[in-house]
């Protein structure tokens, strides 16, 4: 079975290389890569069906053994990567056709997609430090080159370079964590399975802190989230979809694997993780309501959902500290379920927004409107995905939030003040964010898809039925209606983290009751729909009522409602801003209108009025870098421009590091 996995991953890369030579064949790449994804997913599904692990080790002589281990956690991530990759490859075919320009390297891009998918599969399955780090680095580099596809624009290059720097900061932290375990524990490279720190609690906590910090930069927790809204708007849509759906979850995989390997961290780290998660949720949803770039809104909402996943994980740790196994189990199951749900609807959202942005050739929502008439399929899928992301019944987003709520409410039964207070704060934040995400997504949908169009698009809309992404909408519906089998399999994953795992049937009956409620809801709504159909005999189409508005111009023509009457994105943000104004920064430029009859106010003229909302943390990083730049400029070190000098600096650095290691290695032993 494991050979299927190897064949699948190698076939993905092989397809990527071969399609270089088959430039005229459009279907080769997608067909073969999709087939390879199916091959790879079979062993992972088999792990869940037969409920036993798969393991395989390859002997690479000087470095030891390369172990591929598919336990429940790894195979869960393999399933997610392969399924989202499957749809991403099909969508990328459509998206790349729209983005073609002369100097864009499409074949290289497809090769890099293959490399990225394979490296992600290796990251989650390799159980050996060197292999893990190697695949991690390949993943980061290939994603950098993927983001920079539209390299004609300077903004794209700038944001991709920022992404590269931030990813390597996280890489340094992860490497230092692994190196500390190597020094203090064992001198072999197979450390991801069995670790004990011989009662050296301080070192264990430092290692766990470093690793969690490194992985949370990748996942996108606040205050390390700034790369997400700077990268996803400028990457092509299929890459944003695949990255936000899978790559951010690889960071979560790292956190879960750390906790599985190293055991429980100290209480300070748990509280820190809880605080970071709560802050992520609030920051993410606040800025999702305030932005005007469609992809920035979706990436901030990504940050919010990652915060919910982190909240489940940290509450699981807190509950285990106080020996409440049921609370811990429920919160962890809810988190892992949320990983699955979020991948599905986030990728769907990004793919639909890719369609929208290519139709309008810009990301700004203030120029869009009435797209439900021109792109009906895209709007339908977008609305389904946003119902999912707001965790509304009867779709799957509700189930994972319900499980986290279950864990939170169950924690009140244990007489523990700390746990009760943390649960209360989490419940307040989750309830707030439930309504706030409804706000964010109704705002987004209404400004982009509904109402009147705010600007003319020059393209024709010949939208065909989205065969490539409609199958992403089906799990949203099915998992919501039939949560019981998915819950049973995911509880196997969280069962991995508990030593004496007892399968509790109380939660399964709860899942069945929820399913029964959803069926009631669907039956009632269908019944009402038929009643409505029976009683509507004649429908007259006319203009919007708008309290009898009738503007008659000088030629005695009746002018209907223009698009300037409806609420814009900024109108919604403004009222929300009055609620949260100390926490977000507003930049506003106004021009004073002093004419008697201002005529230029008819157009959306940014000279007259411009307002944007900025994250304070984003400002902080930019200000720190500006400050450092100023200080460094005063030192008058100007780059010489010769590449030989830079190589010399690199060689000197390596020599110093090796010397320090050799001299002090005797001290550390």
């Amino acid at each position: 079975m494991i050979y299927l996995f190897h064949i699948g991953t190698l076939m993905i890369i092989f397809t990527g290389f071969v399609q270089f030579f088959l430039k005229n064949n459009k279907h080769f790449y997608s067909a073969f890569s999709a087939f390879a994804c199916i091959l790879t997913i079979i062993p992972a599904i088999n792990v869940f069906i037969k409920e036993e692990y798969i393991s395989h080790s390859i002997n690479i002589n000087p470095y030891g053994e390369l172990i591929f281990n598919l336990d429940y956690l790894s195979s869960f991530f393999v399933i997610i990567i392969c399924s989202i990759g499957f749809f991403g490859i099909f969508y990328s075919k459509q998206s790349l056709e729209g983005l073609k320009e002369n100097n864009y390297h499409t074949e290289l891009h497809k090769l890099l997609i293959s490399i990225m998918l394979s490296s992600m599969l290796w990251v989650v399955s390799i159980n050996n430090t060197l292999g893990f780090l190697f695949s991690w680095e390949v993943m980061s580099l290939s994603s950098f080159f993927l983001i920079i596809y539209q390299h004609n624009s300077k903004q794209v290059i700038k944001s991709a370079l920022q992404y590269l720097v931030i990813m390597h900061i996280s890489f340094v932290l992860i490497i230092s964590g692994f190196m500390l375990t190597y020094i203090f524990n064992s001198h072999s490279f197979n450390i991801l399975n069995t670790i004990s720190f011989h009662n050296n609690d301080l070192m264990k906590n430092i290692v766990i802190a470093l690793l969690i910090l490194g992985f949370s930069i990748k996942a996108g927790f606040v205050p390390f989230h700034i790369w997400m809204p700077r990268t996803y708007p400028y990457a092509p849509a299929h890459i944003s979809g695949i990255m936000s759906a899978i790559m951010a979850k690889i960071g979560i995989y790292g956190i879960l694997r750390t906790l599985y390997t190293f055991g429980h961290p100290s209480l300070y780290i748990v509280y820190l993780l809880t605080g970071i998660s709560l802050l992520s949720i609030l920051t993410g949803i606040t800025h999702a309501i305030l932005q005007t770039d469609i992809k920035k809104i979706i990436s901030y909402s990504s940050i919010e959902n990652i915060g919910i996943i982190g909240l489940g994980i940290s509450l699981n740790l807190l509950a285990r500290y106080y020996n409440n196994t049921s609370v811990a189990f429920l919160c962890l199951t809810g988190s892992v379920f949320h990983i699955l749900n979020h991948s599905i609807y986030k990728s769907l959202l990004f793919f639909c927004s890719g369609n929208v942005c290519s139709y309008f050739n810009s990301n700004d929502i203030e120029k869009m409107g009435a797209l439900s008439k021109k792109l009906p399929y895209t709007s339908f899928l977008f609305i389904i995905a946003s119902i999912g992301i707001c965790a509304l019944p009867p779709f799957n987003g509700f189930i994972s939030e319900f499980l986290i709520y279950l864990g939170l409410f169950k924690s009140f039964s244990f007489l523990n003040l700390n746990l009760s207070l943390v649960s209360l704060i989490s419940i307040i934040v989750l309830a707030f964010t439930g309504v706030a995400s409804i706000f964010a997504f109704t705002r987004l949908i209404s400004v982009v898809f509904l109402g009147n169009s705010r600007s003319e698009s020059k393209k024709e809309s010949n939208e065909y039925f989205p065969f490539n992404i409609i199958f992403l909408a089906i799990p949203i519906f099915l998992i919501g209606l039939f949560p019981k089998p998915v819950f049973e399999k995911i509880s196997l994953i969280s069962g991995m983290f508990f030593i004496n795992y007892i399968h509790n049937s109380e939660y399964i009956s709860l899942m069945q009751s929820i399913s029964r409620t959803f069926f009631f809801f669907i039956i009632i709504s269908l019944a009402l729909f038929f009643i409505r159909k029976k009683f509507t005999n004649k429908t007259i189409y006319s203009e919007t009522w708008s309290c009898g508005y009738k503007f008659i111009n000088k030629k005695n023509e009746k002018i209907p409602l223009t698009s300037r009457f409806q609420y814009t994105g900024h109108s919604h943000s403004k009222s929300f801003f009055t609620l949260i104004f100390p926490f977000v920064r507003k930049n506003e430029t106004k021009q004073i209108i002093d004419e008697l009859h201002p005529t230029n106010a008819n157009t959306i003229n940014e000279k007259y009025y411009h307002r944007e909302y900025i994250d304070y943390l984003d400002c902080l990083y930019t200000n720190i870098i500006k400050y450092l730049n100023q200080k460094i400029l005063k030192l008058n070190i100007s780059p010489s421009g010769h590449i030989q000098n830079y190589l010399l600096y690199g060689v000197i650095f390596l020599v110093i590091v090796l010397a320090v290691t050799i001299i002090f290695s005797g001290v550390l032993q």
């Binding site: 409505r532 006319s542 009457f565």
Partner: protein
């Protein structure tokens, strides 16, 4: 038998409640007012009318009232209407209840914003801002009662926790009813949060979201607004009546208490004006503050 009575109550009472509100408001205004059954006559009249639909709207506009009413009906099935018996009774169905109401709100907002008119946008914006503040209050209330019970509960068990055997039960119940009353005023768009009879731009919140509906859609929405008042009154009544009464007596007391709460709301509506728009969030935040007080009270009570 209980099942049939509950279903009959759900189907008959909402429009009766609307008629009753109008009758009491007419009493305070010195008028005779329309008959109590006017809601039924209006609904039947609306089913016979044809619909006028705006050109700007799409399929969401037509779907919205159906789904709104469906969510409210499903939520009603989760409430214990007579003697603590509810059809969809499982632990933590309170969360499903709140999120179903959220689904209804989502579709009404989309339907309102679909028309492309500024009035609906205004109403949608204000409504979701008020719900933002009111929603955590319900959850804090539920978590304090869960803490009192020391185990997770369903809505039917929610009412029996603060029964008369618990000490300080009357204080707790009064506090809970006040919190629920403020939330009910927000959700059902009554004065002092929203004026349902308004035609002025300044005061439009819920009423303006349904400006463009006609025909049976409007009938569904009238029924749904009455049903929402019914739902929140049920939540409050559950804390007053004990579920050990016989079903017949419980039904009689239930209807009487519904009439009482409806009288209180419509009296408030006739005798005071809606608050200034900037004062409304402060008013709703009062319910959050009260529920946090309740939570603190229960923590102290349990740790003693």
């Amino acid at each position: 038998m209980i099942l049939f009575t509950s279903l009959a109550l759900v189907l008959i009472m909402p429009l009766l409640i609307t008629g009753f509100i109008n009758k009491i408001k007419a009493f305070w205004a010195g008028k005779q007012g329309a008959s109590v059954f006017q809601g039924y006559y209006d609904f039947i009249r609306l089913t016979k009318k044809s619909q006028v639909i705006s050109n700007t709207t799409g399929p969401i506009f037509k779907l919205a009232p159906t789904i709104y009413l469906a969510t409210l009906l499903t939520s009603t099935l989760m409430l214990p209407l007579i003697s603590g018996y509810s059809i969809l009774n499982f632990k933590l169905n309170f969360v499903v209840f709140c999120y179903l109401l959220g689904l209804g709100r989502f579709f009404m907002l989309l339907g309102a914003l679909d028309t492309g008119s500024g009035f609906e946008g205004m109403g949608a914006n204000r409504e979701i801002t008020f719900s933002l503040i009111a929603e955590p209050a319900l959850f804090i209330l539920f978590s304090s009662l869960t803490m009192l019970n020391q185990n997770i509960i369903s809505i039917s068990e929610l009412f029996s926790i603060v029964g008369s055997s618990v000490e300080y039960s009357s204080i707790l119940r009064t506090l809970i009813i006040i919190i629920l009353f403020i939330i009910a005023l927000t959700e059902t768009c009554r004065v002092p949060v929203d004026d349902p009879k308004t035609h002025l731009e300044l005061t439009m919140i819920h009423e303006v979201m349904i400006l463009d509906y006609s025909g049976i859609d409007l009938g569904f929405i009238h029924f749904a607004s009455g049903l929402k008042i019914f739902i929140f009154n049920t939540l409050m009544i559950g804390f007053i009546l004990s579920p050990e009464l016989s079903p017949g007596l419980y039904t009689v007391y239930f209807i009487l208490l519904q009439a009482l709460f409806v009288t209180i709301t419509s009296t408030l509506e006739s005798c005071m004006a809606r608050f200034r728009m900037t004062h409304i969030p402060q008013f709703i935040f009062m319910s959050v503050a009260l529920s946090i007080t309740l939570f603190a009270f229960i923590i102290i009570k349990r740790s003693i």
